[in-house]
Amino acid sequence: MFEFEKNFTKEKLELLSKSRNEPQWVLEKRKKAFDAFQALNWPTKQEEDWRRTDFSPLEKSNFDLNRFLNSSKFITNGSASLTTSGQPTAQFSAQLLQSDSESIFSGEAEFKSSKIIFTDLDSAIKNHSEILSKYSDLINPNDGKFLAFNKAFWNKGMLLYVPKGVTVSLPLYHQLNLKSSGWGVFPYTIIIAEPNSKIILVDDYTSQEQKDWAFSDALTEIYLQRDAQLIYVNSQRWSGNVYHLLRQKAKLEANAQLITLTVNLGSQKSRSEIETELAGSGASAYIFGLTIGNGQQTFEQHTLQDHKAPHTTSDLLFKTALLDSAYAVYSGLIKVEKQAQKTDAYQANRNLLLSDKAKADTLPKLEILANDVRCTHGATVGPIDPEQFFYLISRGIEDKVAKQLLIEGFFDEVLGRIKENGFKDKIKEFLEEKIVE
């Protein structure tokens, strides 16, 4: 089905691993994933979950591995955030900026003494294999062709490891910024938060516009051990030539707290799957999504709130604003297993259509096997309120600016529900950039 598949052979995989000087155990993991990849079929439109996914940009494209064959050069930059007068301007405790061939790290003093590991995956393999070999199995490669593909051929990646009880005062920032054309990037992100740790990470994908199609197949695994707290923002601001897939899975142990925010702004076509497993009693997850589409963009978002333990909470709010001929589809499942009594599970999907040609479909689903649960779900699709619009334009505000204000207002609820403020300016910046486009 995909022409590029011929570039991704077992020989290529061995070459990739070798040129990156990976230890044997990494190659073995890649090979296991490759076997799964070969055994699985590409999903087709006949499958319910893939019915709306348009593969056409991928079919004829010829991504190859050579571009990212070698591991990136790792550069430590010290602290990048002091002004000439020596005043700290830090928005972040540490930053990791990955481009095509480099990864540049800078961190504040507080971060450096914290024992947190925040590095690209190649460096992590070299220096922290004892951690990686223990984790990195949350997503099973047998669960899907594209997952297996990432796990076999991942060529960018990141590890965040927060030891027991550790926290830093500011968020962390990771950026993947790609410039070359015709690439295929397969980022693999692993986040491990040990008991009682607390951290905020903004993970940002961005690229320069190219004429050839590019393909991003991303995987994120999040381990939250008991009483750990994490805010994880994944923002894709890929250029318009990118076809983007993301699979994120978080597993929460007892009393762990996750806030996850998926920001979808870029790429021509994107599909994300956000899975949250509440595995330990008392775990809670707040699952947010912010999407803005314009032009011909399409967004497909799937979520799973998987309650496996009693006294767990999940609260999901996905908001999408669509302009021009943009299209979005949301499908979300709340699953409450038999033993997960006293569960609270909420799900809401709100879509704002700013043009007659924009369209959104929303498909909420419930699967509840426990009998003592509180569960609600709701979905709306609608245009902007004409009275609100009139109020704004009656004050001289241009139609376009009025719509921008209403979009910002529409999204404000999501950011307003997160108490931590440290990362919000960055997100608002991303949104603003897209809104005024």
């Binding site: 109020y391 704004l392 334009i393 009656s394 001289g396 139609d399 204000l405 910002e408 207002g409 609820e413």
Partner: protein, 256 residues
């Protein structure tokens, strides 16, 4: 004072959802004049306000409207506002998520045609809010969201004070206000009244006219102005009710 019309309405017919509401309305307001428009509920006062501002729901079936000599019925609401037309809404719409501050800044930028430095804007906002006895935190609230009746009306006048229109239509800006709030709002309006501002003061009660002196009073009944006069007319209406304007003789002949 030179009698230069700022707003001229000629034989205006307006329909909402196919139903005729205004049935041939004529009115001329000169620069510097305050006109009060009174009338019973449902007579079409708000309809006139909306149609002057260009609300898409109200269809002009015939008639013409000039603002500063230019026909405006074909203009979009934001074009009218930029030319100096302003409507203080009877029922301002809540807009959750959009702060008063961001809104006012965008509006001032649009009306002035250029960005105002943040510092200057904050200074202006603070000064106007103080004059209208509005607390500082108010500007961080969402537009009309959870506002009390009085807050809504003050917010309308705050917008007027910041945007400095040349023709303002105030639609029942007095309703729902206690006497102190009414005085504050009237103070805000009076401060703006001058030789260049025209005001159409829509009100259901005579009360507001104790604080803002009209030059003329008009009575709207069933989509038509049935009576016009000086400020004494308002007192007479207060005393005799609107029925009097419709069937003068009959009402006056009723004796105790």
């Amino acid at each position: 004072m030179s009698k230069e019309p700022i707003l001229k309405i000629e034989d205006l017919h307006v329909a909402v959802e196919g139903k005729e509401i205004l049935k041939g309305l004529n009115l001329t307001i000169n620069k510097g004049e305050v006109h009060a428009l009174m009338g019973p509920n449902g007579s079409g006062k708000s309809t006139l306000a909306y149609v002057l501002m260009g609300h898409p729901k109200y269809q002009v079936t015939s008639g013409r409207v000039w603002y500063k000599g230019e026909e405006i019925l074909a203009l979009k609401p934001n074009e009218r506002a930029k030319k100096g037309l302003f409507l203080a809404f009877q029922y301002p719409t809540p807009i959750p998520g959009v702060t008063v501050m961001n809104f006012l800044r965008a509006a001032l930028k649009a009306v002035q045609g250029k960005e105002i430095p943040a510092k200057d804007f904050l200074k202006l906002l603070k000064e106007k809010m103080k004059f209208l006895e509005i607390s500082d935190q108010f500007s961080n609230r969402y537009i009309n969201d959870g506002f009390s009746g009085g807050e809504k009306k003050r917010h309308e006048i705050l917008q007027m004070a910041i945007l400095e229109p040349e023709m303002a239509i105030l639609d029942e800006t007095d309703s729902g206000l206690d006497i102190d709030a009414l005085k504050t709002v009237a103070k805000g309006v009076n401060r703006l009244i001058g030789p260049n501002l025209g005001i159409l003061l829509i009100t259901h009660y005579q009360r507001m006219l104790n604080y803002i002196k009209p030059d003329f009073v008009h009575v709207l009944v069933d989509g038509k102005i049935v009576q016009s006069g000086g400020d004494k007319l308002a007192l007479k209406l207060e005393e005799l009710g609107y029925d009097w304007t419709v069937e003068k003789t009959e009402t006056l002949s009723v004796e105790k």
